[in-house]
């Protein structure tokens, strides 16, 4: 096992929310994620979180073609990878298992 994967992959609450939103809508811009999160994601930090998740391999991104009429930078759109989906499902399963086990 490589040092990078010495620990099982983890999802922070924000990362989990991003994966959840991307699983629901397939592909979203950073700003759309902020809007869809109902205030749980902030536009000042969402791009940093997305960059970190891309490094971990949970999501992938591609640049769209630049807007033809108004110019400007091409927007970056994000989607979940197979690894991101697996980790999300595993975390949800573990959470459900723990909830059942420790529920009174």
């Amino acid at each position: 096992m490589s040092p990078r994967h010495a620990h099982p992959p983890r999802l922070s609450p924000k990362e989990s929310l991003i994966v959840e939103l991307l699983l629901r809508d397939a592909e979203l811009y950073g700003l759309q994620l902020v809007a869809a999160s109902c205030g749980r994601l902030k536009r000042g930090t969402v791009y940093v979180t997305l960059g970190r998740m891309e490094d971990k391999g949970f999501i992938a991104s591609r640049e769209e073609a630049p807007p033809a009429d108004e110019g400007g930078l091409p927007r970056r759109v994000y989607r979940v990878t197979a690894l991101g989906r697996q980790v999300y499902e595993a975390w949800n399963m573990a959470a459900a298992h723990m909830a059942l086990r420790y529920a009174r």
Binding site: G30, L31, K42, R43, T45, Y47, G72, L73, P74
Partner: protein, 322 residues
């Protein structure tokens, strides 16, 4: 017409790595531009203003986080030349700060007409040092940064180290100005009064010798009572803030200048001294200007520091002529 976010993007190109800019800054700017274009089509001015405000704030936040992460990543891999430059800069800073602090003390110590020995004079000099550090630290750091970043081989890592050091010293400077300097000044006054013939009782703390919490309380009371001299307390209060930020502002300006074009060591030192002289002159003029009510004390006290910071940002993000 420049699209929104372009200036911050150019700033990012100077302070972040290419990869960071492409992955973190460009998506944020692209989203802002798309959102702004949609608002322009709808024609709502207030919505456009709100989008620009929120967009710029968020990109600035991303920029700060990204620049910090870049710095952390590269901090472990110092080249020999970079380490040597940083060390030289530290020694130059220490030398200038010490020399400036001592020189600033001499006129006051020389003017004291009290019968004290050498040991007592040294103790008095120690009491004066904290207040003089507020002036000598920004100068020493700025000149040292100029020395470390002169010529064509300036590196971003040395600049970042200087900025981090300046930021840390700004925090320490606030502690110094808020608590250490008032206590040291009061100790100086008590010692001097004790050497008077006949000995005088210890003086009560004046406004300049109030610790941070006491100054805030006194300021609140003066505001509540609509005291006519509230401007004096406000001047003292905001000066502590602005002088604390001075090391960071001066170093940021020097870094911006150094990366703008190649300088000789003497040239950059000359510019730094000129900027510092202007900053000091502005600082000296704030008290009479506040007394005449030319502008609120907060504006006057922050003017020098804010101008340095604004100039640093403007120089860094300015488009280089083709």
């Amino acid at each position: 017409m420049t699209r929104p976010g372009e200036r911050l993007r150019r700033l990012a190109a100077r302070v972040c790595s290419e990869r960071t800019r492409q992955r973190l800054i460009d998506p944020a700017v692209a989203d802002l531009q798309a959102e702004f274009a949609a608002a322009r089509r709808n024609g709502s001015v207030w919505r456009r203003v709100r989008i620009l405000g929120a967009g710029y704030l968020s990109i600035a936040k991303v920029l700060i986080i990204a620049a910090g992460a870049d710095l952390r990543e590269s901090a472990t891999t110092w080249q020999r030349e970079e380490a040597s430059r940083a060390r030289r800069g530290a020694w130059v800073a220490l030398g200038i700060i010490t020399a400036a602090t001592v020189l600033l003390e001499l006129p006051l110590l020389g003017s004291l007409e009290i019968g004290t020995g050498v040991g007592e004079r040294l103790r008095l000099a120690t009491y004066l040092a904290p207040s003089n550090l507020a002036l000598s630290v920004p100068l020493g750091l700025a000149i040292a940064t100029g020395w470390a970043l002169h010529g064509a081989t300036r590196t971003r890592k040395v600049a970042a180290a200087a900025l981090v050091t300046a930021a840390a010293l700004s925090v320490l400077m606030f502690v110094n100005l808020a608590w250490l300097t008032p206590d040291a000044n009061q100790a100086f006054r008590v010692t001097v009064m004790a050497h008077h013939d006949p000995p005088a009782p210890p003086p009560v703390r004046g406004d300049g010798e109030l610790r941070w919490e006491d100054l805030r309380t006194r300021l609140r009371q003066a505001r509540d009572a609509a005291d006519g001299d509230v401007w004096q307390l406000e001047t003292l209060y905001y000066r502590k803030w602005s002088m604390s930020a001075a090391p960071l502002a001066m170093v940021a300006l020097v870094v911006a200048l150094a990366f703008r074009r190649p300088w000789t060591r003497v040239g950059l030192t000359g510019v730094v001294c000129g900027v510092y002289a202007a900053y000091y002159a502005l600082l000296l003029s704030t008290f009479p200007l506040a007394q005449r009510g030319v502008a609120p004390p907060m504006v006057l006290e922050w003017a020098g520091t804010a101008l340095c910071l604004a100039a640093a940002v403007a120089i860094t993000s300015w488009r280089r002529p083709a």
